[in-house]
């Protein structure tokens, strides 16, 4: 085994015992596993190397993340797994994680001396397949091969789906390494429903071109082509097949695109959640940078990211942030680019039904329920109608309201079926048709967020306009942040998402009619909760925000999203609002968050195009909120709310979703297209 230091040179870890080769004896596995270790601490590197060698793995050391990335890029199939430290000078470990996930799709294990929940959660949300606490023991390293197997299995399944079972490379690897019978039939492993959903949704496998699909490395250029295609198609239309056609890259298969799309969504989701931290002034860093930036701070809304990306006007960003963070910012409403939000939404949570709902609303009402994922009680029809109305309202309401989160009664109320719809209608311009109660929940979110804020007398932002079509930022912007102020206290931060058409605020929130008050109240509560959550580190928020932020970023940067879009965060985010609507997925404790989030979402939907920036903000906001609230399914039948997420819940929710638990999520919301159009790349 040769071990090479990658201090500056590319040392390939070509293993002499290529256990991937067909002729390798499977039972040697996991011996010969090719591990790349990245850590800037030489002491740890030496120790880890020794330990891994003792496990009979092939080890390559590297003390710089950039170099590691280069090595991985140059030798695409040269490693099986990567172990990386979190704190590194040249690149944040999480960024590296995302890069690797996105470009190479290798399992990555994070490690750190820091075992704080936040950072561990961050690892999970960024897609790490494991997280080790230093000092690492050899026992912990002995079983890392399982991550490789698992990943391969998933890949193989993917291949199966595409019909190219024969792919020699992957399959063989799989079968050999894993010792699973390599018969094509094994392809039924389908471990992730989402993949399946995606495939089903998009098209029937027609990958003629993929018989042999070597692992695709998504270079920056390729990814940009991908993003351009996605943007061009639009969120609701960007399905792998079409993306593939647009990209027109020879040798690229639909499966490649599908899996990349999935990751991208997660990535965006994460970005949106993370971007919050970034200062508004984040210059638009290169997509990657931006992404990282976003990722670094998981705090709540990734408004910064959004702002950076241009989607969110700095001002709004601040507002959103403040809102998100529970601070009261009297800034004017944050223009929520509906469009973006939608995108965000979509990314974040393909599974979010909500997203879909939004899309529907906005775009064409697909009959999908907003709450796809949410086992809402809302009848589809209602939802549909809700959608319709939501549309006008600008989805914001819908989402926001529904989620209201558990705590916030108001919100919840809104969530109540139909209240949402109503809220939507009400809040903004009241012209929103009363949505059937059933819908209330998911859709409402938007209303709530927007509505509440607005209603409370806070300046409500011009939502009126917003929701219907959510006039591009204008309405959103106008949303005076005063909501925020009011909300600040216990009002939910929805205020911050001025963008969200306050549609919801109109009494519709509440079912009672004075949704306004309630709405806000609801929000308030949720906001509080949300804040609390944030403050108390409900990581769920973070992640949700992160997701949101991430997504924004992603969209904005259109950079090769590093793969680790771990859906979790995004899922949550989406879930946040959607879940509340849909199914308790939102573990995010703060109901408000959800509501807020929904609000954001709503906004998006209303007008995705225009409001991209706004939406993002809203979304971010909402997402954050949404997650936070675990709206006890007041209305939304979806279990979302009911669940109070604890981090665990969240995680599990996310994980579940990721695995397709949400099922439709992917397809629903579909981020097929992350509509990046709004995102200024």
């Amino acid at each position: 085994m040769n071990q090479s230091n990658c201090k500056g040179s590319m040392s390939t870890a070509s293993s002499s015992t290529n256990w991937k080769a067909n002729d390798v004896v499977p039972d040697q596995f996991p011996a010969g596993l090719r591990v790349l270790v990245v850590d800037d601490d030489p002491t740890c590197l030496v120790i880890l190397e020794k330990m891994l060698r003792t496990c009979l793995y092939e080890v390559t050391k590297c003390n710089r993340a950039e170099v590691a990335l280069s090595m991985l890029r140059e030798n695409k199939n040269g490693f099986d797994i990567v172990i990386s430290d979190v704190h590194m000078p040249d690149m944040d470990g999480f960024k590296l994680l995302e890069h690797i996930g996105l470009e190479m799709d290798l399992p990555v294990i994070m490690m750190s001396a820091d075992d704080g929940k936040q950072v561990v959660m961050k690892g999970v949300t960024h897609g790490a397949c494991d997280y080790l606490i230093k000092p690492v023991r050899i026992e912990a390293l002995k079983n890392i091969w399982q991550h490789v197997v698992r990943k391969k299995k998933n890949e193989w399944k993917d291949l199966e789906q595409s019909g190219s079972v024969e792919e020699g490379d992957r399959q063989q690897k799989l079968s050999e390494d894993v010792d699973y019978s390599s018969s094509a039939n094994e392809g039924n492993w389908k471990n992730s429903k989402k993949r399946k959903d995606e495939e089903e949704e998009t098209e029937d496998r027609d990958d003629t071109s993929t018989l042999k699909k070597p692992r695709v490395v998504w270079s920056v250029e390729l990814h940009q082509q991908f993003v351009a295609a996605v943007n061009q198609l639009g969120i609701d239309k960007a399905v792998p097949k079409k993306i593939l056609e647009l990209m027109n890259v020879p040798g690229l298969t639909r499966e490649n695109v599908a899996s990349h799309l999935q990751k991208y969504r997660l990535y965006l989701r994460r970005l949106s959640g993370v971007s919050q931290h970034q200062g508004m002034n984040n210059s638009f860093m290169s997509p990657q940078d931006a992404t990282f930036g976003a990722m670094s701070s998981l705090n709540g809304l990734d408004l910064q990211t959004l702002s950076v990306t241009g989607q969110l006007p700095a001002q709004s960003l601040a507002t959103l942030q403040a809102a998100g963070l529970g601070r009261s910012t009297t800034k004017s409403g944050i223009p929520m680019p509906l469009v973006d939000q939608r995108n965000l939404f979509s990314f974040e949570n393909p599974k979010l039904r909500f997203g879909e709902g939004q899309q529907q609303q906005m775009s064409s009402n697909k009959p999908m329920n907003l709450l796809h994922g949410i086992p809402t009680t809302m009848e589809p029809k209602q939802l549909a109608s809700l959608h319709q109305s939501a549309q006008s309202i600008g989805s914001m309401n819908m989402q926001v309201n529904t989620h209201g989160g558990q705590g916030s009664s108001l919100l919840m109320q809104m969530a109540q079926p139909q209240s949402r719809g109503q809220i939507l209608n009400e809040s903004t311009s009241s012209h929103v048709p009363r949505l059937p109660s059933s819908i209330g929940q998911p859709i409402m979110t938007n209303g709530i967020a927007g509505g509440v804020i607005g209603r409370n007398g806070i300046g409500d932002n011009s939502r009126g306009t917003g929701y219907n079509q959510v006039p591009p930022s204008s309405s959103m912007l106008s949303f005076p942040m005063n909501h925020t102020t009011e909300l600040a206290g216990n009002s939910f931060p929805l205020g911050s998402t001025p963008g969200i058409s306050n549609v919801t605020s109109k009494g519709s929130f509440q079912e009672e009619g004075n949704s306004e008050m309630k709405g806000s109240a609801g929000f308030v509560q949720s906001y509080d909760i949300f804040n609390d959550l944030q403050q108390h580190q409900h990581k769920s928020h973070d992640w949700e925000l992160q997701n949101v932020g991430l997504h924004f970023d992603a969209s904005q940067n259109a950079n090769p999203i590093q793969g680790n879009l771990d859906v979790s965060p995004s899922v949550l985010v989406h879930q946040g609002y959607s879940s509340s609507q849909r199914s308790g997925q939102n573990r995010n404790a703060s109901a408000v968050g959800r509501a807020m989030f929904s609000g954001v979402e709503c906004v998006e939907q209303g007008n995705m195009q225009n409001f991209s920036p706004h939406l993002n903000n809203l979304l971010v906001d909402n997402s954050v909120r949404v997650k936070a609230e675990t709206i006890p399914d007041t209305n939304c039948q979806t279990t979302l709310f009911t669940e109070h997420f604890g981090q665990d819940d969240l995680m599990s929710a996310l994980l579940k979703q990721q695995q397709g638990g949400i099922g439709t999520a992917e397809t629903d919301f579909d981020l097929d297209g992350y509509s990046m159009d709004n995102i200024p790349v």
Binding site: D41, P42, D85, K134
Partner: protein, 162 residues
């Protein structure tokens, strides 16, 4: 004789490292990794640790000293040094130094430069104690050629006892 007394010296010094609370069981884990094919592993690790940690401690100190009062902490490489030092100490099994470094890290995260400066002397002191002891131990450890018995001072045959 010489071997055994060297061996005894090594053993007692090693024991005192534990007794004085300088090292924990992580160090034993490192020792377990040593084998005939790599008989100098522990020595090597200690060497790497001492070299690198000294750079980190020095870097931390200099960063703090040169940092102006209103300068944000993260503009320096402080964070990098702190994390590396902590990581290295944990890897080698040091007990006390990481605790101090952790305190400093928390101040760092909070942007509290003064707090860090307050902890610095304690951290340095702990580090110096550890460093001295480890160096002495390192010096005692024989350099064993691969293939030879890795038993420390084996009865005079290979113990070079340097």
């Amino acid at each position: 004789m010489a071997g055994s007394s060297l061996q005894q010296q090594i053993a007692s010094m090693r024991q005192s490292l534990f007794d004085e609370g300088l090292l924990n069981e992580q160090f034993i884990e490192l020792e377990k990794l040593e084998d005939a094919s790599d008989p100098n592993f522990v020595k090597n690790v200690i060497n790497v640790f001492l070299t690198d940690s000294l750079k980190n401690v020095t870097g931390i100190e200099e960063s703090l000293l040169h940092l102006k009062a209103d300068e944000p902490l993260d503009i320096t490489e402080l964070g990098k040094f702190l994390h590396r030092l902590k990581s290295g100490c944990l890897g080698i099994g040091a007990k006390k130094v990481p605790i101090e470094v952790e305190k400093m890290l928390q101040c760092y995260e909070a942007g509290d430069m003064e707090g860090m400066k307050t902890i610095l002397p304690t951290m340095k002191q702990e580090y110096n104690i550890l460093e001295n002891k480890l160096e002495a131990y390192f010096e005692l450890l024989p350099h064993i050629e691969p293939g030879q018995s890795s038993d420390p001072p084996s009865k005079g045959s290979t113990s070079s006892g340097e």
